[in-house]
């Protein structure tokens, strides 16, 4: 485990890492590792450079190409007598609360990255807590990621200027030509807020600072942003030189020539005498002054647009009388000038008092070193170029605002306000104004008459239908008279029934044409559905407000928009389960969308029974005469689970598993597939066998754990989109709607084209939402996707009132090939020995074999006890990791029980490497004090560790762990009483949520068979089975052989 950290100083980005100390005692190690040249000891948690480089290389980040430089950092770390503290319990346990920490200096080995590598690394870390298993992104590094994005934003908006800065080194004073960010207005505010969020670790590097004079957060952040901006601009040149010919040697030509050259050179150094450079640097300051004075003052000019007073009776108000409205352009709007305190944006001082040099305001300004008149003059001078009425107002002494007539006010809102904002001024605009215009707009309503339907078979979304347009304004239907009157008005802003609305000539023209009988439109039902969800414009760029329809199209639209509840379907006859009410609704919803050929994503919480809802749908279709197979694609780890669930709930559906080495290919596959109702395969094969899969016309395609296609570029995602299918369905337990970036790929699979092309999606939704620049974008996206995503939370009692407090589920897992061959070897060995043994010896042999086989089912590394590598060797562990990932994403908490403490340790290590979060592990060797502390942290700590592994013996009784709502039994104790007792750690007094119990079984192994035996014996009193696993030893040799034998379906690889 490495946690990556980074320091920034001297225009360099230095990467270092923290790993658990490998020695027995941190303090003991430290003494041996005092570096020769100084007394500062090396941190016991230092990862070392080579470990960082190789781990990064495994994660696909190559930082060696740029010629990495090795450095050693001195940093201040909170420390106790026994050494430095670690950033995370993953590195070392948190210290005793009683121990007082103090800052001490430590050395760490670091790598100084070239800018290109630094930006590459930072952009890969964006939005991630783990860069790869075992490689966590430290909070400080995440902070740098955010700062880099901020810097990149400045570059996008071109808020930077060329500059010349003094570059002092020990040897000499030099000058560097650089690209400097210009922080004005809101950007400046953000930098201040940003800097106060900086982890102190970022400032704890002792290159320039000492403990008494630490680096200033704001200064450091600005330096870093400047570094990013400079590099991004400079490197834009290196990809394709812009200053190429005629070539100028860097050291000749005028200083201006040399400066231009240096602005794009790698190091930016400017040659020339010190005196010449200093004079030039001073000239640059003067040159930049008009921008600088408005961008770095402690107060900022702010414009507030005020509506005419008493507007009710005013002109421009198109209320009831049309005549009133025509007498437009009555009273003026006011644009007020104010000074806004940069540190406290809520403080607004009218310009009126800022012009005066006496009074309370004047002394405030003076205290802040602010020359209000000069600033106002400069700022208004700059603003006057962008907005002519401001220029006019400067004809009178001490202006505090200007008046705008209606059309000027409109122009101000639509154009000038934007320009002023970009120039760094603050704008306070009326609440009814948005970036895209007034909230109320001229909009179109489509009304559709459904054509006659001849049977359900005809339904098709591609069918073209006709409809009529109507016009409304600000949500109110417009009459022709009103529309004509608006056209005559020729004002861009109108107060219509109490609210200001924006009008433009083109829109009015288009609206009038709707009235003049040219209002008919044509579109496919699919487009109509999109329109009704707020995507797509009518003629003349008028947004579509609503689509109303009668008949079956009306039903369709109402159902999609959730206005009307879709018809609740009766459960299929041959479903061997009683659907709970919410499951019945989910199944009906699937059926509704499927009927229309619309894709659906069922995103219910884990444990709510997504599988059974889908099986019900497939069963129902079959009963209604569907005869093509349905393809289910899922992760390898759940193939068996699907098979078992289908066998349990829909035993009449024939299931074919397309998996493993012996799977059918080509024609044999398609023929065989046609003979089954369900074909189950995995994501790995989706791409590999796409040709065969594509040769079949599927009734439907179901993607389980659909987050597997969240990246649209992967071969799996492309293959999934290419399948021929009647309907498409995605299942996931993670909140897909939260991750905007992943949504496109999912929706493109479900309903191709609904969110536009990937590029369009990035422009209209991803970037605006990611940068929070357009609050309406998230709403529009939700409106478009909501109808196709159904997510119910088990905590939502209003929807799911009938969930039992405790739900037990079996999770069927597969063996890996390695596990299967180990399993077979153990069975073979036992079979020989069984023949020869009797009595006590036989009992011992049976119990030992049971234990060995359980270990093989758990993990080869546990069975072999060889401390070998963990990933990709166990079906159970893969499944556990997937399910816990879902648990974490939903902010739930889980207990994981195993009867083997060796396995507990393997699980702990694996989960920590994968999730980068601390995982608690309680086993027999944990002292009482620590044990209590673990329980306390799990139960009471606000952001405490969400996963708790317990060995069945140490943690199976006595503890109260009600904060968990998931219990995983990783291996089985063949005695229900023991298992139940463990389960009850979570399910006892104090539990407010329902508890899900997941019992892991390897399909086709003794685990499944013993489970079946227990199920059969359920009715018999538990005393018969006893308290141990002894009862198994009573079985006959033949029974035992059958019990141990490995079924064919155990492996999925």
């Amino acid at each position: 485990m490495i946690i990556l950290h980074a320091a920034f100083f001297g225009d360099k980005f230095h990467l270092w890492g923290e790993s658990p100390a490998s020695g027995p005692e941190p303090s003991g190690r430290r003494k041996n590792r005092v570096s020769a040249e100084s007394d500062t000891p090396l941190s016991p948690y230092d990862s070392g450079r080579s470990a960082i480089v190789s781990r990064l290389a495994e994660a696909g980040v190559d930082i060696s190409a740029g010629g990495k430089k090795q450095t050693t950092l001195s940093i201040l770390l909170p420390s106790t007598d026994s050494g430095p503290l670690a950033s995370s319990p993953l590195i070392a346990p948190a210290p005793d609360a009683a121990q007082e920490a103090a800052l001490k200096e430590w050395k760490v080995n670091s790598i100084s990255l070239k800018p290109v590598d630094a930006i590459d690394l930072l952009s890969r870390c964006a939005g991630k807590e783990m860069l790869a298993p075992g490689l966590a992104v430290g909070k400080d590094l995440r902070y740098w990621v955010a700062a880099m994005q901020f810097g990149a934003g400045l570059v996008v908006r071109q808020q930077f200027l060329p500059d010349l800065v003094q570059n002092e080194t020990k040897l000499k004073v030099g000058f560097r030509a650089v690209w400097e960010p210009v922080l004005s207005g809101a950007d400046y505010d953000r930098v201040l807020k940003f800097s106060s969020a900086m982890p102190h670790l970022c400032r704890a590097s002792l290159f320039e600072a000492d403990s008494d004079h630490p680096l200033d957060a704001a200064r450091l952040l600005k330096d870093f942003i400047a570094f990013i901006v400079d590099y991004l601009v400079r490197s834009a040149h290196s990809t394709q030189p812009l200053i190429a010919s005629p070539p100028i040697p860097a050291n000749s030509g005028s200083i201006h020539d040399r400066w231009l050259k240096a602005l794009v050179s790698d190091d930016g150094m400017l040659t020339g005498s010190r005196e010449e450079c200093e004079r030039f640097a001073h000239q640059i300051v003067e040159w930049r002054r008009p921008v600088f004075i408005t961008s770095s003052a402690p107060f900022r000019l702010c414009f507030r647009l005020e509506e005419p007073n008493g507007a009710e009776s005013q002109s421009g108000d198109l209320s009831n009388s049309t005549d009133d409205a025509i007498a437009s352009n009555g009273r003026d709007w006011t644009l007020r000038y104010l000074l806004q305190d940069v540190n406290d944006p809520s403080l607004l001082i009218p310009a009126e008092s800022a012009w005066k040099s006496r009074g309370p305001r004047a002394s405030l300004f003076k205290k802040r070193g602010f020359n209000a008149p000069e600033y106002l003059l400069s700022a208004l001078g700059a603003a006057s170029n962008l907005c002519p009425p401001i220029e006019e107002s400067l004809r009178m002494p001490a202006p505090d605002g200007c008046d705008l007539d209606l059309s000027r006010a409109h122009r101000f809102l639509t154009e000038e306000a934007w320009l002023l904002e970009q120039a760094g001024f603050t704008l306070l605009l009326p609440a009814w104004w948005t970036r895209k215009g007034t909230k109320g707009r001229l909009s179109a309503r489509a009304s559709v008459k459904s054509p006659k339907l001849h049977g359900a078979a005809q339904l098709s979304l591609t069918e073209i239908i006709r409809f009529d347009w109507q016009v409304s304004l600000g949500g109110e239907t417009l009459s022709l008279a009103e529309l004509k009157m608006l056209a005559k008005l020729k004002t861009p802003l109108v107060k219509f029934r109490g609210q200001w609305v924006q009008l433009n000539a083109d829109e009015i023209e288009a609206a009038l044409s709707f009235w003049k009988g040219r209002s008919e439109g044509k579109a496919s039902i699919r487009d109509l559905v999109r329109m009704s969800l707020g995507a797509g414009d009518a003629k003349g760029g008028i947004p579509v407000e609503s689509v109303s329809a009668d008949g079956w199209i009306g039903d369709l639209l109402a159902g999609i928009q959730g206005r009307a509840s879709y018809e609740e379907k009766a459960p299929p006859k041959d479903l061997k389960a009683v659907l709970r009410p919410y499951q019945l609704r989910g199944y009906s919803w699937l059926k509704f969308l499927r009927t229309w050929g619309l894709g659906a994503c069922l995103a219910d919480d884990m444990g709510l029974g997504k599988t059974v809802q889908v099986l019900a749908l497939i069963q129902r279709d079959r009963e209604e005469g569907a005869n093509r197979p349905v393809l289910v694609i899922c992760p390898t780890s759940v193939v068996s689970n699907w098979e078992k669930e289908a066998a349990r709930f829909t035993p009449r559906l024939s299931v074919m598993v397309h998996h493993g080495i012996g799977r059918r290919k080509g024609d044999t596959f398609s023929k065989e597939a046609q003979r089954h109702a369900i074909v189950i395969s995995s994501y790995a094969l989706l791409h590999r066998d796409i040709e065969a899969l594509n040769a079949v016309e599927w009734e439907g395609v179901v993607l389980d754990e659909a987050q597997n296609i969240k990246n649209a570029e992967t071969k799996q995602s492309k293959a999934a989109r290419s399948l021929n299918s009647g309907y498409r369905l995605a299942l996931t337990g993670t909140p897909v709607e939260n991750n905007v970036g992943d949504l496109w790929s999912l929706m493109e699979f479900l309903n191709a084209g609904f969110l536009g092309s990937q590029g369009e999606f990035k422009r209209t939704f991803f970037l605006p939402i990611q940068t929070a620049s357009d609050p309406s974008a998230a709403n529009r996206l939700r409106k478009l996707t909501e109808p196709f995503i159904l997510r119910r939370l088990k905590t939502d009692k209003t929807i799911i009132s009938d969930l039992p407090d405790k739900m037990e589920m079996k999770v069927f897992c597969n063996l890996t090939k390695e596990q299967a061959s180990l399993y077979a070897a153990v069975v073979e060995e036992t079979a020989r020995a069984l023949e020869k043994s009797e009595g006590i010896q036989r009992k011992g042999l049976v119990l030992a074999t049971l234990s060995k086989l359980k270990q093989v089912c758990n993990h080869p590394a546990q069975f072999l006890g060889d401390n070998s590598s963990i990933p990709n060797r166990s079906g159970k562990l893969a499944r556990l990791t997937e399910m816990l990932e879902e648990v974490l994403e939903n902010d739930d908490r889980a207990l994981v029980f195993s009867q083997f403490s060796e396995m507990g340790e393997i699980i702990r290590k694996h989960l920590e490497e994968n999730f980068g979060r601390e995982v608690l592990f309680l086993h027999g060797a944990v002292a009482k004090k620590n044990r209590d502390r673990m329980v306390e942290r799990f139960q009471d700590e606000k952001h405490g560790p969400p996963i708790f592994i317990l060995s069945l013996k140490a943690g199976g009784t006595g503890l109260n762990l009600t904060r968990a709502n998931h219990v995983f039994h990783f291996d089985r104790w063949w005695n229900p009483a023991v298992e139940n007792q463990a389960t009850d750690r979570a399910f006892r007094i104090g539990q407010v949520k329902n508890v899900q119990v997941h019992k892991y079984l390897c399909a086709g192994t003794l685990e499944e068979k013993i489970d079946e035996m227990i199920e059969r014996k359920r009715g018999i009193a538990s005393s018969v089975v006893g308290t141990g696993e002894q009862w198994l030893t009573e079985l006959s040799t033949d029974e035992l052989k059958e019990l141990f034998a490995l079924s064919k379906n155990a492996v999925a690889d």
Binding site: A152, S196, S296, N371
Partner: protein, 312 residues
Amino acid sequence: MPRRQRYNPRRYHDDDDEDGYYSYSHFPPKSVPRKVSGGIRAQSQRGTFGKSWWAQRWIKVLESFNIGSRLSRGRSYARNGQVLSVELNRGMVTAGVQGSRRDPYKVTIEVATLSRADGEKLGKELSAQPIFAAKLLASEMPQDVETAFTACGLSLFPESLGDLKTKCSCPDWSNPCKHVAAVYYLIGEEFDRDPFLIFRLRGLDRDRLIKIISESAGAQGESEFDHEELFASDETRSEPITTDAARFWDGGDIPAGSSEMELPPVVAPLLKRLGSFPFWRSERRLVETLEPFYDRASRQALRVIAGDWRRK
């Protein structure tokens, strides 16, 4: 490429030499200037100098001297970068010009500055309309600023030959000579860019003008401002490094992005607002040369934000 102008009877129509051929008596001593690299090159490469009305007003004074072809030679000098340096201060311009001799000639142009009393009168007049100061501070010449001057019986520009004192270390008997003319034209061109220079030359620098205006606006001139301090005031006090685990390792909540993330409608708005650099000395125009960087850098940065940035 800049042209080197030589005497050629067949080219007497050329505007650079319009009176060279005929006005024989004014013909200056014939000389070929030494070639210079790194001199100040005029932006104007043909025709007249000075686009703005105020620059033209300035140049008109020079051209009212009857110095014949020295004007056109001066323009050529300015265009070919023979002027090595220009320094503009209160009431005085000093410059170095490379002629035919080895050492550059030293040129000075003196302009009468406004007296303190005149300054105060003017301040009253200017503060009645803040537009004057506001425009000047934004590097623009207010349209009718001259009305403020005439109202006080003053003039912004040197009106006649008597208002200027020019000197040059060259052997030409004429004053102004072509070297003075070259410098004069370049100054005119700079006035286009930053009209404040005229005020500075007349003895009204930025700080004095602000002071005059705010005093006249009823203020008492009690506040003396340190501009450097103004720029430095954004520094916050550095907070000592803490041992508190949350603050040390995790930091606070990072504010969400709130700014527009689109390319600006005009490329390089800040650069264009500032315009070119005073007495720019390069073959490459500043704004035109750097403009493409802005566009390209924008697109590159957009890829960084969208997560599409891959190093080449």
